[in-house]
Symmetry: C2
DNA sequence: CTCGTGATTGACGCTTACGTAAACGTAAAG
DNA sequence: CTTTACGTTTACGTAAGCGTCAATCACGAG
């Protein structure tokens, strides 16, 4: 540090090291490598070192979102792979459309679950605040 | 079977056996017993046999909804226990209100995740159908 | 050369959420 | 009595999703 000239800028083609990606998305290196093991990420290798491109970054974001939604990594794999597919043949397209229908149904069920839960939490909260008021009035 | 009289109706006070509950919610007996182990269900015991009351039934439904939302059983426990609490003292009420705030934030994040995913699925679907049209036009 | 930093590949461990027998009890039906 | 259905506990097994070493390599700075 302190040596500003001769910094090795990675050709400005926006790539990341595994540590940079880990820091950005707040996951461990282990996690990122695990996702690679499971075929969810396929970073470039420069020698033995992993180089992550924008595509990998996007996929990592998608994976983490999928996790927040409670999907398993296997399910996430099928979802994420839908995003950057080749045009494909008819059978493949039909399969994809079916997958989409399935996933959409799941997600809509989850949204209903969320809305119900939020409504009930609001009720509980109201009761809590009413009880608090009563307590403090005594 | 075939013997219709002398059926032992359970006093009509609406209770269920473990098998009935399992069938209704499409889970295994093992699962229900596991939830009891984790303190999520506390059925009555008639001798050694478990008897489930409406309260248990409601809690099971809440547990399963929590699972669909991707919460762990520990998290589900704190959520479900919020529903049937006693009025409680002030500290308890404040704790509960904080829990509610936390859970609400999580749920709202998940809803955003869902909406984003649904939007992207719609895009993928549109591309798929466009590709299909092209294929079939050739 | 040596050190520090950051990377790599195993490989074993751990928690969660059950599955899956094994071995047994009980009570009604045939 | 025997079978059948339904229940019980105990306990080991398993898949997912990483955590946590350990051993090793590569490289730039001092």
């Amino acid at each position: 540090m302190g040596c500003v000239h001769n910094i090795r800028v990675p050709a400005e083609t926006s790539t990341w090291s595994i540590a940079e990606l880990a820091a950005e998305y707040d996951v461990t290196l282990r996690t990122i490598r695990f996702y690679e093991d499971r075929g969810l990420l396929t970073p470039e290798r420069r020698g033995t070192v992993r180089i992550y491109h924008p595509r990998d970054r996007v996929r990592l974001a998608l994976i983490l979102r999928g996790k927040r939604l409670g999907f398993t990594l296997d399910e996430i794999a099928t979802i994420v792979d839908m995003y950057d597919r080749e045009p494909g043949e008819e059978g493949q397209l039909v399969y994809l459309l079916n997958q989409i229908t399935t996933r959409r149904a799941e997600l809509e069920q989850r949204r209903r679950d969320i809305d119900e839960t939020l409504a009930e939490l609001a009720e509980v909260e109201a009761r809590c605040q009413a009880d608090l008021k009563t307590l403090r009035a005594e």
